[in-house]
Amino acid sequence: MRIGIPGGLLYYNYEPFIKTFFDELGVEVKYSTVSNKDILNMGAKNCVDEACLPIKIFHGHVMKLQEDCDYIAVPRIMNCEFGESICPKYEGLPELVASGTKKNNYIFSKPIRMHDKKKFLKSLQAGAKQIGINKKKVKLAFERALESQKNVNRGIDEEEYTYKVFLAGHPCNIYDQFANINLIEKLHKLDIGIITEECVSESNKKEQMKDLIKNPYWLFFINNFGAAKFLEAEGKADGIIYLSSFCCGTDSFTVEMIKNNLKHLPMLVLKLDEQTGEAGYDTRLEAFKEMLEMKSVKNSKKGVETFENNISSYR
């Protein structure tokens, strides 16, 4: 029996947890973490048209794993560690995948509420029961996995480049080199280093929410909005690049809120879709770099300079 683990969406956030958990369970596991053109095509073909790029890539990983796995782990994440929700598509992921791929061998699809450890464990135990693993073993694996997730420092913070930008967005876009066509490498070539939201602590992010009239509930909103405001206040970043996917529901909101709340940091919004042209993408990055240069020459910090447009980035 072999279990397939598609590496998309929140896999990049919880990689240590997932790896340790399945190692400890002692089952045969196959990962599909590196996406490519075939995976995207397969996903786009089988997924509902209106879904966003990360969901389509996830579909592709699942389709690929279907070829030689008996079960595929498709989690239904309702809440993250601090009770934040993500997006309805994550909550209905098993249904979305099942109707797209026309198969039903998905496990671990009971609701996962990470802020409640007991419920979290219970849902994993229910999932493991389907493949015949007893509760005790799952509990042990669960504790080890939590430990390993805690001990790993995630996030990128680069010091060796002239400029440093805050690379905001969903982890599935930031860490998937295929989805963002080597954005990080391209930035390095332009002498720009990056810092990601994981480098800002949870309490610092929460502090930035004080001015809002309502406590926000989206994971990616809290992470990106909080980190953007914090990094601006501390002067740790020269600009923001927001990596978003086309038709993303929560990003339409997050980007606008960041834009309205920034005081002087320039911001570039890149939208990813299924297209693969790179030229437009490169030009915009170069323009952003030039703008950073000009800004540092003038050394003036007046007015909000926002470089946003709704043209597809021709990825």
Partner: protein, 367 residues
């Protein structure tokens, strides 16, 4: 204090009746129009859902008409509606429309005390006793319920009437007179009169009209501008249809019946076992039961980019495949062209007609 709230269906009619009854001034912005939508989209983010763009244009018009306090309902995620208030404030403040905001949130997000405080703030300038407020609320609920039952009857009867368009005319007349009614009592009498009028419409019981179920996202279902007046269009074509999601349905489930949400979350559903926000589970539930309730087809309505309904669209496709239910999804955006929608819906009605008369044309499911 002059309050305003965004348009959703006929809420502005009953809303202003209620607030007038307890002596609070209400500014009701003009009905949604294409130019209003353009104004809204010019300051709203590109990829936000259609209701946001319409609502923001309502707030701007109301501000220009002298409103100073905006009331906005909110929910607790993960659908975008819960964060609307936040973004409205941020954008409108930036453009110089400075409202006082009263956000009516769910008690799970802000606590019962805070909710009561906000509701009290809303009616702080009333000129009557607290008891009268409750009486007015009760009457408002009655108006909503009775008007919706009239609407429901019209929707069903429009397939059976002998001379086409009579039911629609009665409904239109009732709505326009309701707008000019003096108070809630007056409105109740008026609706009763039209219930009576509707009973006198000549019905052909031998007719076998096509029966369609409308499901989908709540705002687009209730606000006629957001769905390009699909209801009137269906009535014109002699279709008998039903629409379970209405304002009264929402009030019943969320306010007057405290057990509904609790029970619904535990309801078993083969295709969507858990509620995922928005009204996706309801959509699926109704779609599944459509065959049992003898509907010929289902039309799903959603504004472009609606997150929960994208999932339910995908699941409805699966249901359509497995249970031979005919489903068509219509996605509305801010484009004003109606011809494409009309053609598609007409084709769907034709297809249902062929299937009903036993002429098999093409495959069963259209997705």
């Amino acid at each position: 204090m002059k309050i305003t709230f965004p348009h959703i269906g006929d809420a502005h009619i009953v809303g202003s009746l209620f607030f007038n009854e307890i002596g609070i001034q209400v500014v009701s912005p003009p009905l949604n129009t294409v130019s209003g939508l353009e104004k809204g989209s010019s300051i709203a983010p590109d990829e936000i859902c259609l209701p946001f763009k319409l609502m923001i244009s309502n707030f701007i018009s109301a501000y220009e008409m002298g409103a100073d306090t905006a009331v906005m309902p909110a929910t607790i995620g993960p659908c975008r509606l819960g964060e609307y208030g936040e973004l409205f404030k941020s954008i409108l403040d930036k453009h110089g429309y400075n409202f006082n905001w009263i956000i009516i949130d769910t008690p799970t997000a802000i606590g019962k005390k805070e909710l009561l405080k906000r509701l009290n703030l809303l009616i702080s300038e009333r000129n009557c006793k607290m008891a009268d407020v409750f009486i007015a609320l009760n009457k408002t609920y009655k108006v909503i319920k009775r008007f919706e039952s009239l609407e429901k009857r019209v929707r069903i009867l429009s397939g059976y009437e002998r001379s086409r368009g009579e039911c629609k005319k009665i409904l239109k007349e009732c709505r326009s007179r309701l707008r000019n009614s003096k108070d809630l009592n007056d409105a109740l009498i008026l609706i009763k009169e039209y219930h009576h009028k509707l009973s006198k419409v000549i019905i052909d019981k031998n007719k076998k009209p096509i029966r369609i179920l409308l499901v989908g996202e709540i705002y687009s279902m209730i606000e006629p501008f957001a769905n390009h007046r699909i209801e009137e269009m269906l009535m014109d074509r002699g279709v008998s249809f039903e629409k379970p999601v209405t304002l009264g349905w929402w009030i019943n489930n969320n306010i007057t019946n405290p057990f509904y949400l609790f029970l619904f979350a535990r309801k078993k559903n083969k295709y969507m076992p858990y509620s995922i926000g928005g009204y996706a589970k309801e959509t699926i539930e109704e779609g599944m039961n459509s065959k049992k309730n003898k509907f010929d087809g289902v039309i799903q309505i959603l504004p472009v980019g609606c997150m929960p309904e994208i999932v339910s669209k995908s699941v409805l496709n699966q249901i359509s495949r497995e249970e031979q239910i005919k489903v068509m999804t219509v996605i509305f955006d801010e484009m004003g062209g109606e011809a494409g929608y009309i053609t598609r819906i007409e084709a769907f009605i034709d297809m249902l007609g062929f299937a009903k008369r036993g002429e098999k044309r093409g495959n069963e499911c259209i997705a």
